[in-house]
């Protein structure tokens, strides 16, 4: 009898190459599951749970490095075969898709109807809808249009007990039942595997424009951005980039600090917003770049994708109040690369692994409890010495209990989330 207890893991066995491809923070899985239907995925989860085998959920893997090192990793669970668009009625301004659909594929379909979901995660040609939600990856326009939590109106999730359960629905206004969409947004797949998502969509604005201002002082650039964020015609995106980041994003100008502004709206609105933005730059001791930005679409894609960081560096991410951002970035030395979003009080700071622990401590000290600094990406070798999420957030006891309730055998991304969840 005892012999039967030996674990037979679900999924297919994989070779060394595929193991390496699916490795996360130096851990490799023995097997992979690539379910072709939500039902198959749910059954797979149930099988995993029965054997207490740990899975790391993979979408497009653009943010697979997010979170702490997995505590265990037996099976890779990929959602990329769940890639169908299920519904899109343009006049309803909603759509429904499987979670493994690439963000870029959905946006291309919507674009053909003059629509979009105003979420713009890095590498949309690879990133999946489910991954975008699980990683809470909204892109650069969160301050103006809201983030992932504001655009997901329905969800279907496969849980480790083999159940697929829904919440929300496909209408834009709906308060029936609990808003479990929020629970799974930013949860890194630790409570269940998202199999289907419903989104609100938006008519793409009639016009857009890009304006660049440059500054000698970072504080001035941030202040101009903060001022713009509080205007009725607030830009769709406002970023502050240091010289090196600007160059990495494809602009060769030798400006110390650049304020890059993306404007969207009705045509006339954008014209007026441009004047307003130019005035804000000048009022804050900046200079407006008179030439139109070359290839603005490409530039914004580069800025967006810059937020993914690099393999050999540590990427820190600070979120504070708008007015609290400057002091947190100020502790970064000249060896750090900075990209800040003054309209949402967020900043990415890229630093060499050797300097990361010290900088993380200093930034956390500067936040003073009114926000947080997390590690968005780090080389495997650095992960263990970095406290990825910092102290557990308030309500952590409830979060741990939610995890225990929905994933009692801790099979989903164990150890990766806040407080070791």
């Amino acid at each position: 009898m005892k012999a039967q207890v030996s674990r037979v893991l679900p999924g297919q066995e994989i070779g060394v190459d595929e193991q390496r491809e699916l490795a996360v923070d130096g851990l490799t899985p023995a097997r992979v599951m690539r379910p072709q239907s939500p039902q198959e995925l749910a059954e797979g989860l149930q099988a995993l749970s029965a054997t207490s085998a740990a899975a790391v959920v993979h979408g497009g893997d653009t943010q697979i490095g997010l979170g702490s090192r997995p505590a265990r990793y037996d099976v890779a669970l990929s959602t990329t075969r769940l890639s169908r668009l299920l519904e899109h009625e343009p006049a309803d301004l909603t759509c429904r898709a499987e979670a493994g659909m690439r963000v870029g594929d959905l946006q291309a379909i919507l674009r053909a109807h003059g629509q979009r979901v105003p979420l713009d995660p890095p590498r949309p040609e690879k990133a999946t809808l489910g991954g975008m939600v699980a990683a809470n990856s909204s892109g650069l326009s969160r301050a103006r249009y809201g983030g992932v939590r504001d655009w997901v109106i329905g969800i279907a999730v496969a849980y480790p007990n083999g159940v697929i359960a829904r919440a929300g629905g496909k209408v834009v206004k709906n308060v029936a039942g609990y808003d479990l969409m929020k629970l799974h947004t930013g949860a890194l797949g630790t409570l269940g595997v998202i199999v289907e998502l419903n989104f609100k969509v938006q008519t793409t604005p009639e016009a857009d424009d890009t304006m660049l201002g440059h500054f000698d002082q970072r504080g001035d650039a941030l202040a101009a951005g903060r001022w713009l964020a509080r205007q009725y015609l607030a830009p769709a995106a406002i970023t502050v980039l240091d010289r090196e980041v600007l160059q990495e994003c494809g602009l060769t100008a030798d400006w110390r600090w650049t304020l890059a502004i993306r404007l969207e709206g009705y045509r006339r609105e954008v014209e007026i917003a441009r004047d307003q933005a130019a005035a804000a730059v000048r009022d804050h001791a900046g200079r407006v770049e008179s030439e139109p930005a070359p290839a603005p679409a490409r530039f914004w894609e580069s800025v967006r994708d810059w937020t993914l960081g690099q393999d050999e560096a540590v990427l820190l991410y600070a979120t504070t109040s708008l007015s609290g951002l400057s002091p947190v970035i100020d502790v970064a030395g000249s060896d750090s690369r900075v990209m800040a979003e003054p309209a949402s009080g967020t900043a990415y700071v890229r630093v060499a692994p050797g300097a990361a622990v010290g900088l993380l401590d200093r930034m956390r000290g500067a936040v003073k409890g009114s926000g947080q600094v997390v590690v968005r990406r780090a080389p495997t070798a650095s992960k263990d010495e970095l406290d990825i999420f910092g102290p557990p957030p308030p309500g952590f006891a409830l979060m741990r209990e939610l995890k225990r309730t929905l994933d009692p055998n801790a099979i989903l991304n164990p150890g990766r989330f806040v407080g070791g969840i």
């Binding site: 999730v157 209408v171 709906n174 308060v175 479990l180 930013g186 007026i272 979120t319 009080g345 952590f396």
Partner: protein, 487 residues
Amino acid sequence: MESERLSRRLKAVVGERYAFTDPYEVRLYQYDASPETALPDAVVIPGSAEEVAQVARICAEEGVPIVARSGASSLCGGTVPVEGGVVITFARMDHILEIDLENLRAVVEPGVVNLALSQVLRPRGFYYVPDPSSQGACTIGGNVGTNAGGPHTLLYGVTVNHVTGLEVALTTGELLQLGPGKASELSGYDLTGLLCGSEGTMAIVTKIWVRLTPVPPVSKTLLAVFDDVTTASNAVSTVIASGILPAAIEMMDHLSIQAVEAASHAGYPLDAGAVLLLEVDGIAEVAGDVARRMAECCRAEGAREVRLARDEAERQALWKGRKGAFSAMGRLSPDFYVMDGVVPRTRLPATLDAIGKISERTGFKICNVFHAGDGNLHPLVLFDGFKEGEYEQVLRIGDEILKLCADQGGSITGEHGIGLEKRENIRYVFSDQDLSVMDQVRRVFDPGLRMNPGKVFPAAGGEAKPAVRMPAGKTTGRAGPGDEIWV
């Protein structure tokens, strides 16, 4: 004896004056804006979050239900203490604690009236966007409980999109500050988002961080007049398809117009089959042009008249008429029963048509006043509660309409909540498995099931909806011209 001990313990926390159990005194707290009633055992009016937390712990220790209530404008029995217990009301916790324009946030206590916040903010160029029609009476705490909407959700979203943090009391007596507050995000599960719309079944909100938005420089409001609801519905789709982003699109049908115009004299045409109220926010240079484009869309779909509100006074009059529509129904009927179904926009004509057929078949008049841009319907069934059997019939009509909305791919509530009223109807949109996950989540917060019991979830064992009878002589829920009921 036990209730005496409960009373003594509550008084020890909030003071003699702010806890009462006398059946005469607690009667006021037996109802909200829905027809159902139930008496609480005790009512407390705490003065601070710490007191709320202590009351919550005492309720847990004594094993009695706890129901949070403030404006009590719930249309679905959300604050009716069906299983008795302690009602916590927030009349004393009505302070705006902080306005931080630099960071676009305000921090408020749950008893702050929705409109009061925007009235304080507007002179400074900002406002709190969600504006349920009851905004003169409903509170931000109640708005969080139901994830309230309003006419302007079309462009700006609902309550949860404007709430960035909550302080909550748990049944353990713990006070927790959740969410990013003045920041834009915080790692961990989004408990703030989860609790919005949880109808007081998991925790009691004691403080709220809300996002502030710059006031639009100009709002242009159009009144478009149609011969029937179908052409009006088509106009809604045409406006949306044209690329315009309206701030609100509201519809009223012929019957509603009669009541609203008699009450408000806002200038709604009495012979219209349907009217749309369309609003666009923007800068002066653009809003007028966009309003003209919306007017063209309406004319193209057969509007027989499109009128731009000439000035702010006319605009306010139109909105006052719309927001007071429910109260105005008292002119048509001694009672009405309101529903809150949602359908995809494109299903509006078919749904309204089917509701018309239900009205014809049953002989009950049904008015439609609703948020057309969102597909959020508010059918009002007119009846007379003193006529034997009418109320029961009306409840059955309500069930039928909600089923209809669910079958069209919609929802059984867009903004009012499930509450007591629709706890069985929730099965139209969620399976047992869906509900079981939600139930597991609730029990993490409230293992003893004492937080607003009898709400949201179907009765255990799936027994039929309890026959709730309107007590004879009951006046609430009957809207006379002097009463105020909103949607």
